[in-house]
Amino acid sequence: MKVTINQKTFDYDGDPAMPLLWFIRDDLKMTGTKFSCGMALCGACTVHINGEPTRSCQLPMSAIQGKQVTTIEGLSKDASHPVQQAWREHNVPQCGYCQSGQMMQAAALLSKNADPSDEDIENYMSGNICRCGTYPRIRAAIKTAAGKV
């Protein structure tokens, strides 16, 4: 099968049940998308499938045929997406491990909702865990990026 990731097309002939995460990380060696729970419980592996935020650790390769996959490496060419800029402006990352997933989730939120309320942000982001506790800064950064996506 052919899969399209960050607008590049790749051939895949492995197990169609393998989650996309492992194709991205182990086969393509793109490690911006993180492994943390493997059960779609934490959001560290979030990518966009046709623009929808999706947990790649539970998404089988068979499900992405004909779809556009975007990873953190493809969110912008030079880390200049408004969410990435806002993340730097607010010094959001501590260890940084969950932040690819947080930014992918936040970018999807702002593409649908240009002016999210505190509650909108909480609802949309509650599937993404950060053990360093950067949540207050994530909230603030999303507000800064709002309207710029």
Binding site: M30, Q99, E122
Partner: protein, 751 residues
């Protein structure tokens, strides 16, 4: 888009190439008497400041960060200290992550001590380098060194305004003798331009672009991937394994039974069955078909439900006294009233977002490991021992850590990678799954505490009894350890800061059945939970305001003299002369946080606030959490307040972030639990191990950093201990329900 892995590999290669290129450069220096400052050549146990700084003829300043980066931005704050004294320009500064080696001194990134234990020596390292550059310029100009100052990567001759760049001075400076210590004038505080400034994390660009490389992200040519099914009960072992079935599965390269350890657990791998495959998924898939017969082990008796009862029963019996003053029994006899309460806190898992991972390459006479570890020297030692190699032949390359919180100070997973790489004769990455992390960790201990306060007729506290019972971290290193260690009791029990006439602090026996280990703030977490909750209970019992009561209990401004109460106090390994237990500073953070949160007006405004304060890691922290509870009992936190007195602060922005994150980690401590049935851990992933998500955390955290000239205290851990009691106290204010046992449910209905 370049792929991040080859970028990271290039980074590693470039790193070693730079090091060797530099050594080469040295041999070419004229009249070479290479001062240690310019070469990373010191060996053995010796530590000179020079291992932290090298300056190249290009003018590039290379600063070695010997501590692990796990979110505290140490890779920025260590260079900040050196840049200050060196007068360097950040544009020409490169940070290099140290491998594990004793020449750096202590590299254990734990105990909130990276800054406080290195502040002076890093300043001296920077000042030494600056002195040599100034001396070189003075020689060239035939000027007085006192007229030569470092500024913006140059030495400036102040009378004439002549300037010369650092790079041009390297060849001469390298030939000069190191200055005597008394010649080093450190910059006065008033002139600081780097220390105390909110300099942005040097890694933030990589972290926001997906390019930052963690232990899980290391990829080497020809590597294979391993997952390990570890024994469900600690110290049981695999008796039979369906090896042939598993080997026949897609992608599986080998199935290797790892040796089962015997007590003490130390940093040994747990054993189990490793499946090595062509990618992580294939190893993981194959593990689901594993059929292993595990041996019986006595640890299978461990059941959290019955163990809780035992711990509480022990806590309510007289314990071994570890500190006392006056006579508690006398106070109890004469008491007008008595208040008793018991507190329980379950096991927790550190659960860093990045589960442990290590990648190793092992040859007959050497080993290279890339891993996210808090203790690179311990990793080097245990890998060397496991492979029977000279430690000098083992290189531990430290990646970024996707969180540590104490889990990654135990390098058992590094040994696993080394053993498997040796067996496979090719690079192996060991990937811990979340289930492995939660079920086979070094757990934050389970604890029970009983407290009693006695009162006179005026409702003053006359006596205080506190018995603390928990299986000790010492049991991980000494199987005979059957009670809390002195070191753990020093974390919040022995240093109870109250001026109570009759004070008695005790410990009781408890046997460990799982591996117990450090977790962020360690014993301070449950000690602060019990003490600060009990103080709030006393406030309600006596009808006093909690802030006023806390100030009354802490008593007059003083430095606590532990000898007066028959106790020795470890004080986090630092002398009480430089880091006293200073009650004035503790009261100051309480008053500050109360002022910021408008504590006194809370009732008028219908706000539900919880207050707690605790000194740990030589730093004073007070927290107020405000809760809202809806009709269903579901609580949320619109705002939290922290006041932190950490002495001198290197980077206030990082300290602020640690306060925010520290409170949130403490909220996780209050809502999560790890339990065992028949010796096996019940929780397996984030659906049944609750950690704080955005809805359980403050919408806003207001941080006040106390301006102080005291020596630096810890920062990474002190904000955590007050969080759980502040939350419990706030929920009591809102609902009337006293939460003495953790975990706190996500819904608390009004009583």
């Amino acid at each position: 888009m370049t792929d991040t892995i080859s970028t990271s590999r290039r980074a590693f290669l470039k790193r070693s190439a730079t090091a060797s290129g530099f050594t080469l450069g040295l041999t070419l220096l004229p009249a070479s008497r290479p001062s240690a400052m310019f070469a990373d050549t010191s060996a053995g146990d010796s530590l000179t400041p020079s291992v932290f700084v090298s300056i190249h003829e290009s003018g590039e300043v290379e600063i070695t960060c010997h501590r692990s980066e796990m979110g505290q931005q140490i890779r920025t704050s260590i260079p900040q200290i050196i840049v200050e004294e060196l007068g360097a320009n950040w544009q020409f500064v490169k940070v290099v992550q140290a491998t594990g080696h004793p020449k750096y001194g202590d590299q254990n990134t734990d105990g909130s001590r990276s800054i406080r234990r290195n502040f002076d020596r890093l300043r001296e390292a920077g000042a030494t380098a600056a002195y040599l550059l100034r001396a070189a310029a003075a020689t060239g100009w035939q000027a007085d060194i006192a007229d030569c100052e470092v500024s913006d990567h140059q030495v400036v001759h102040t009378p004439s305004g002549k300037k010369v760049g650092f790079g041009k001075l390297v060849a001469v400076a390298a030939t000069l003798p190191l200055p005597e210590a008394d010649k080093l004038a450190l910059k006065p505080r008033k002139d600081w331009q780097s220390i105390g400034k909110p300099i942005r994390s040097l890694d933030i660009q990589a972290m926001t672009s997906g390019k930052a490389v963690y232990g899980q992200d290391v990829i080497l040519p020809d590597m294979c991937f391993a997952v390990i099914q570890r024994p469900p009960v600690v110290f049981s072992s695999a008796e039979s394994v369906n090896v042939a079935d598993i080997k026949a599965m897609p992608g599986v390269l080998d199935v290797i039974t790892l040796p089962a350890p015997e007590a003490p657990a130390m940093f040994k791998p747990l054993g189990g069955v490793a499946i090595v495959a062509k990618n992580t998924w294939q190893a993981w898939q194959a593990s689901k078909s594993l059929s292993v017969k595990w041996s019986e082990h006595a640890n299978a008796v461990y059941n959290s439900t019955t163990y809780r009862e035992q711990l509480l029963a022990t806590a309510n019996k007289p314990g071994e006294v570890v500190r006392h003053q006056g006579s508690f029994s006398q106070a109890e006899k004469q008491a007008h009233s008595v208040l008793k309460a018991q507190y329980y806190a379950p096991h927790l898992a550190q659960a860093p977002m990045e589960p442990p991972a290590a990648t190793a390459v092992v040859t007959d006479d050497s080993a290279q490991v890339w891993t996210s570890v808090q203790t690179p020297q311990a990793a080097r030692q245990v890998v060397a021992a496991a492979l029977n190699l000279d430690p000098e032949k083992v290189t531990i390359n430290v990646t970024l850590l996707g969180g540590g919180f104490g889990r990654k100070s135990k390098p058992d997973f590094v040994v696993e990678a080394a053993l498997l790489a040796k067996a496979m004769k090719r690079p192996v990455k060991v990937v811990w799954r979340r289930e492995d992390d939660l079920q086979h960790g070094y757990f934050h201990t389970v604890s029970a505490q009983a407290l009693t306060a006695t009162f006179n007729q005026q409702n003053q506290v006359t006596g205080w009894l506190h018995n603390s019972v928990f299986p000790s971290i010492s049991s991980t290193f000494d199987p005979s350890a059957n009670k809390p260690s002195d070191g753990e009791l020093d974390l919040g029990l022995v240093d109870t800061p109250f001026a109570i006439e009759n004070l008695q602090l005790e410990r009781g026996e408890a046997i460990a059945h799982v591996r117990i280990g450090w977790m962020r703030s360690v014993a301070n977490v449950y000690h602060a939970f019990a003490i600060q909750s009990f103080v709030d209970e006393i406030a309600h019992h006596t009808g006093k305001d909690q802030q006023a009561l806390m100030l009354e209990l802490i008593g007059p401004d003083r430095h606590i003299d532990f000898a007066q109460s028959n106790a020795k106090y470890g004080n986090y390994g630092d002398p009480l002369e430089s880091y006293p237990v200073d009650t004035a500073r503790l009261k100051n953070v309480i008053n500050t946080v109360c002022e910021k949160a408008n504590w006194a007006q809370r009732h008028k405004k219908g706000r539900y606030l919880g207050l707690a304060a605790h000194r740990s890691f030589l730093t004073y922290a007070a927290v107020i959490i405000e809760v809202e509870v809806d009709k269903s009992g579901s609580w949320s936190i619109p705002k939290a307040y922290v006041a932190l007195d950490a002495g001198t602060v290197v980077n206030p922005e990082h300290v602020k972030a640690q306060c925010e994150g520290g409170i949130i980690y403490g909220i996780s401590c209050a809502i999560g639990q790890i339990t065992a049935s028949n010796g096996q851990i019940n929780e397996s992933n984030f659906h049944n191990y609750l950690v704080a998500r955005m809805p359980q955390t403050p919408v806003e955290v207001e941080v006040t950093i106390i301006d102080s000239v005291a020596p630096p205290g810890g920062v990474g851990e002190p904000p955590t201990p007050p969080a759980a009691p502040a939350l419990a106290n706030a929920l009591f204010a809102a609902t009337g329900v006293r939460l003495r046992e953790l975990p706190i449910p996500l819904s608390v209905k009004r009583s």
